[in-house]
Amino acid sequence: MLTRGTLIYIGQRLLLIAFTVLAVSFAVFAALHSLPGNPFVNEKLHGAELAAQMHLYGLDLPIPIQYWNWLKGAIHGDFGVSLAILNEPISPIVFREFSVSLMLGGAALLITLGLGTVLGVIAAARQNTWVDYTLTTFAVIGYSVPSFVLASVFILVFGVWLFNVTHGAFYYPLNWTGTYGTIEELSIPAIALGLYTSGQVTRITRAAMLDVIQQDYIRTARAKGLRQRIVILRHAFRNALIPVVSIAGPLIITIIVGSVVIENLFGIPGLGKEFVESILRHDYNIAIAVFTLYAALIGVANLLVDIAYAAIDPRIRY
């Protein structure tokens, strides 16, 4: 229920996010501009030529002034021009890459929560049977193997060994097809990215379900004559979701961090790939835009998690 208090709370949180993003962008701006080297190393510019280039892009000004100039554009969604690709405006590039990463991360999050909770519920319902042991083992493997290891194995198996069987559907040369890839191309990286976190969700869901089904209100639900399925899904699962949602924030951050590695491994043209490449190219403007977008994404994701938390647990009101 959206009460006035809730709306005020959301407004406050958005304000806080704005400040955080501002602070992050400034810190990154200052840090990157103090790094040794310059964007024009590859062009082998020296002396007066270099100074002229630096002047052209405003890189000779004091950092606070440069930042101010950058900020004026950024507020309107204009992150300036690339320093490496001549005069290319950054915003269209990073926003496109952002949407690619959002798709990959969203798919991974879906796998994390969907697979994780379903397996957790099944494991709990079949506690101490071979089903439980199998799923628990899967979960442990899931969260013990880092996503980049899993990704490498997947590439080897699906892209290389099974190349003929899969007709190259999972082959990742250096980039995937087009901007958003194909469903096949998306599925493997999304699984590699989401399996690790889904193992954690499985473990937490299972523990929460086992705790919840011992609660008095579950006994009440059974004493009312509800179907077993309804007792489990409506009464137990909703309560078991509370601890799952409480770790959703950290899970999302894990996925974002993981996506940087995964995008680079699979050649996915998303924010994570750009992040690494832009830093290597000293393309400050792009790197700063990427950082800024990440900060905003994490802030908004955490806000959404908190809203979901309140939606599931009526005892929580902001």
Binding site: Y217, T220, A221, R222, A223, G225, Q228, I230, R315
Partner: protein, 379 residues
Amino acid sequence: MPDITKPILEVKNLRTSFFTDDGEVKAVRDVSFDLYEGETLGIVGESGCGKSVTVMSILGLVQRLGKITGGQVLFRGKDLTKIPADELRHVRGRDIAMIFQDPLSSLNPVLSVGYQIDEAMYAHDVIKHDDIRARGVDLLEEVRVPDASRRIKDYPHQFSGGMRQRAMIAMGLSNKPKVLIADEPTTALDVTVQAQILELLRDLNQNTGTSIILITHNLGVVAGLCQRVIVMYAGEIVEEGTAEQIFENPQHPYTWSLLRSMPRVDTSRRERLKSIEGLPPDLIAPPPGCKFNPRCPFRIEQCFSDDPTLETVGDDDRHIAKCWVRMKRAYAEMGAATLTDTRPGAASGVRPPKTLVEKLEDSREIEPDTEAVGDLRGS
């Protein structure tokens, strides 16, 4: 008035155990009783004597380690311990409803009170679906929740303890059950609220003729509400009779002790704190003979070797007790009327047989009931 010719629920030789790592906890040991139409039956006994497990077994609600190991629960000619799960599901909440001790934890915190009441009706086909919403409000009004039409949308945490128990009762009554089992419905509530809830149960019994099984360890509650009383000890029924028989003429020493330990308004504060000495026995390996013998002031030699059975007491065949001595003899021969020392064996002067004491002394695993044993060795 209850119709004592028609049992609506018959429990026959019920046995329920918990299979724990330490062994089989026999929580209910061969319990039989009838519940008649329209009556309120009280079940009393100390904590851990098997009251809850008995009634949970009736609806097949013991879980995990617990298992019904024998006996029957006959309702409308069907044995509830044998019928298929789906049939049993329809008995639960429709024919036999149950409310629990702790209203704070018995409602689901993430679902609204109204939802949980409605859901009980949707689960069965007693109430027409179109009428369910309205009936939810009516029920809450009936159990005297103020401002019911607004409060029905609230979540449990917005309700006080007493209101939650009212909501539980409303939920229990929603399908017009034949039997309502109330397991210590007032223990968690403060005194004034307790009285209100009990009043509600009394009205319910009188107005709708719903049979009630009321579990409590408060004998005062039983006296006010129940027509018949069952006294349980260590998983067994030790005495059963009409409320009058139990209160005026208790025959089992345990019942007698419970009544003595009952707080009375007219007694001094010091006397009120009296309770039965010692603890109930370990239900994995209870003492041989009568299970009350380690605590009984009136025990005789026979009590240590032979387990008595439930026999009629004599005044009429509704009054039965499980005791070799019985209070009639205890009054006549052991001066029970003026007894001040209620320690084990105090009235009869009988100590456990030598072998048993030695066994207790030798064995470090069996933690002896220090008070009782110390007393035996000392005198």
